[in-house]
Assembly symmetry: C2
């Protein structure tokens, strides 16, 4: 059992917990809690850390056989990102997908998040994207790190399963979409077409902007269609993950609630 803060693995875990660049350098992220680790594909789990209590109660079925280390409860609290740790944490290799293969599908359904900043919002977008049969997410480099522990937790496991990519420059991505015949729909306050009128037929991408400022002018200008979400009262905007959900579910609905 690991009991010393000075242990090399513990030091590494603390770095991974706190630093996006450290996680990126090693191509990993951390998944914590029984529910989340219970959904981690064993092939991606490098090491599992558990408290003696969890070791005794039994680790999730899917993780039997993965390299496991037992850590004292006191030490576990130091490597946990939550106030009430469940005593189980996995170091997970980042899954990879082939963007070309996804874009070449008959009618991919994509979501682009530009500068989304709130970890809970991004996690919720992942979770909703899986439920709405979205083919892939594209996240701008300046958005919150999708491998931030709070984002990972709020994806409720969708981060293991929803293909996702980081893009540097939306202009380049827009050109790729154009070449593949993918139509882009931006949620925008200046939109004239209601999102319920958009057909989402053929390859489609939904563009969602930053919580405070919406989409950048440059990205909105590149969108094929600006759609609006009708709003009553004095409401000026919706939460970014709610706006994303309404558009994702509209696409899902227009596609007969079929997975893409």
């Amino acid at each position: 059992m690991i009991t010393a803060t000075s242990n090399g693995q513990i030091k590494q875990l603390q770095k991974w917990m706190n630093k996006s660049a450290e996680r990126a350098k090693d191509g990993i992220f951390l998944a914590e809690g029984l529910r989340l680790t219970g959904e981690a594909p064993a092939a991606l789990v490098r090491t599992l850390y558990v408290t003696p209590k969890v070791a005794q109660a039994g680790i999730p079925e899917n993780l039997k056989g993965v390299p496991t280390e037992v850590v004292s409860p006191e030490l576990f609290a130091k490597i946990s990102s939550t106030d009430t740790p469940q005593g189980i944490l996995a170091v997970v290799s980042r899954p990879t997908w082939d963007p070309e293969a996804i874009l070449r599908r008959k009618a991919p359904f994509l979501v682009v998040c530009e500068r989304m900043q709130d970890p809970g919002n991004l996690g919720t977008v992942f979770r909703t994207a899986e439920a709405a049969g979205v083919s892939a997410l594209f996240l701008s480099r300046d958005a919150v790190d999708p491998y931030n522990p709070k984002v990972v937790r709020s994806t409720m496991g969708a981060i293991f399963r929803v293909p996702h990519f980081i893009y540097e420059d939306y202009k380049v991505l827009a050109e790729t979409f154009r070449k593949q015949g993918i139509r882009t729909y931006a949620a925008h306050l200046r939109g004239t077409m209601s999102y319920t009128e958009a057909d989402f037929a053929g390859g489609s991408a939904v563009l969602i902007g930053n919580e405070g400022n919406g989409l950048s002018e440059e990205t909105a200008a590149l969108a094929d269609t600006l759609v609006k979400i009708p709003m009553a009262g004095q409401a000026e905007s919706l939460n970014a993950s709610v706006a994303a959900a309404l558009l994702m579910y509209e696409g899902f609905r227009k596609r007969g609630f079929d997975r893409q």
Copy 2:
């Protein structure tokens, strides 16, 4: 200018910030930040607290004339619920509404939140409810306090405008709905009708449950219709505020995007 932690007003503000029962006893809540105080109806604002910087830059137009106290920046940090205070905080009387009048409208559109626990989710429900033209929210007594500073902040001002009520016992509320001819639609994993098939004609209430456990069996059993939200992939559920948004916007759509 108030500079001492021992000042009676400061002590009271700290109590209000931290204790739900203190806020309830005095019938108030705290609204913090330029955006939120800028939407507070002056008639409800008892006292406004600002830092010298904000006092000099000018308080929001709507609050000119309300009793205002200047507080040193050091002290303001102690009464703020955020890490980066904007230096403006209002003590607001809780608005009240007449539930009978709302229920007697031709076709009220209501939302019931049972045991919603996450402040961000409840705030988002308020915000979406305003945008979706919802007539009123009903919150179970054991839900998170809607006047919790985090909830208030994430309503983005909707808490001032969306009529809301706390209920003790759903059975009593259900009986009131029945007498008024209000049909209840519960988001439920056992639902057989897709939410897109629900007509939401006439008085309607959408029932949303707890984040982890959904609606209680007792409440689900009292619902007129259990609706399901189709889900692809391995997704087992949606974020509670997303599920609420999909149902609210479906009702809004079926009502021609008209405010109720």
